[in-house]
Symmetry: C2
Subunit: 234 residues, 2 copies
DNA sequence: GTCTATAATATGATAGAC
DNA sequence: GTCTATCATATTATAGAC
């Protein structure tokens, strides 16, 4: 099988829980410490799950892989998250707000070209800072988005519809060339997310990715140039 | 489990192999007929495999699902393709040439804006006609392209490098605005493939996809407008 | 070529001791 | 909370009859 899974165990720093460890200062209430420890562990599991899920998808990932990466036992993992699906959903939900966020500060009172330039910059930085999140999202959508469909048809659709109105106003005011707002938004999503979702392909062609600061600047500048020239009023 | 797999069996037209069936005319050599029947069956399996693999990825798909869709037994499927991976690879290889093809007729002797306009049209039509292929490709790349890496770093890289040279010549001749050729190519890929890979999201937002001829025209026109304006010489 | 077992394994999930 | 079995199932792949 040349499609290999992850190496059995990656070297992780195991937090020693020796007796010397001091109880934290802000002990607000009984059990607060324990609660925080649990939350921290959940966070570690989340990280590991994102890593694995984003690479292999839901079906291709096993709880064993995730548990190994988080350096706990599978049973223990299932103590924190009752089932594989519960864990997956928990990870997905976390990503959603990150996903919707950049579109929020995209308001009518801004200078259109400046707003779009800034949006592209933020989106591509999101592709650099959260490439796994982007890929997991892509996986989910390609699966038919069984778990996100409600969100897509609800919150996302609503948000995009609003922003389309903003764009239309800009066009009506002659501050933007007449393009369909939806296709413009899709183009912006596509060009920026491409650098995360197809990172392996870009790496194969150019030997670079967005972790290279210079390449990040280059990509940002070029996308901005193409799209901003593309929709500047003439 | 709300991530449901495919319904057990989709109604497929089962080719009756009754005695009335006439042997085909072009019986070139002994066994030719049998060979053709086998090839036809392989083709059916390919179709089914693409359908399933493109939706659930390699790990998420089972031979049972594929066999059901192809209306044969799993054992029989394994008679034609020795293993799951062999089948997967066979499907992937078929797609590769389709994937590289459009970039081929992109030559220096053409009028640049016309060539790019045409390329965008072809690529988005490819997204309409082969959405599953596009998604399977995306799956594979997101998995880290273990099976395609050689092709990506070889044939694809080579091809893209050549086309980048063509674009640079156009720019040097002042027939195109100065943009980085690679980022331009990535932008063209991204915007056109987005309509296949993220079809479910677009469907959630607009209720349309590329099978709608009007929407296809709309998408094509807008992408062309944005990118062609974006890189037109000024 | 196609079928019926069946082997061999991976994996999600639970029970119960500590 | 964490661990050691252990169950139950899904799934790839093979053996061998017809």
């Amino acid at each position: 099988m040349s499609i290999q899974k992850l190496p059995g165990k990656i070297p992780t720093v195991r937090q020693s829980r020796g007796e010397l460890q001091r109880p934290p200062i802000d002990k607000k209430e009984p059990g607060a410490r324990r609660l925080r420890v649990m939350e921290a562990k959940k966070e570690v599991i989340h990280q590991a799950a994102l890593e694995i899920f984003s690479q292999y998808g839901f079906y291709g990932s096993s709880l064993d892989q995730i548990a190994n990466l988080a350096d706990i036992s599978k049973t223990n993992l299932l103590y924190y998250f009752g089932s594989k699906e519960e864990l997956y959903l928990s990870v997905l939900k976390r990503l959603l707000h990150i996903w919707l966020e950049p579109l929020l500060n995209f308001t009518a009172d801004q200078e259109p070209l400046q707003a779009i330039r800034e949006y592209l910059r933020i989106k591509i930085q999101y592709s650099r800072n959260h490439p796994k999140a982007s890929r997991l999202f892509c996986f989910e959508v390609m699966h038919g988005a069984p778990l996100l469909k409600d969100e897509l048809e609800g919150a996302l659709r609503e948000l995009v519809t609003q922003k389309a109105v903003v764009i239309r106003h800009w066009i009506a005011a002659g501050r933007l060339a007449p393009v369909d707002p939806y296709h413009l938004i899709f183009s912006m999503w596509a060009t920026t997310q491409h650098y995360a979702d197809y990172a392996v392909q870009i790496q194969a062609i150019l030997g670079k990715d967005l972790t290279d600061d210079e390449f990040l600047e280059e990509a940002t500048a070029n996308i901005q140039k193409i799209i901003l020239n593309g929709i500047a009023p003439r």
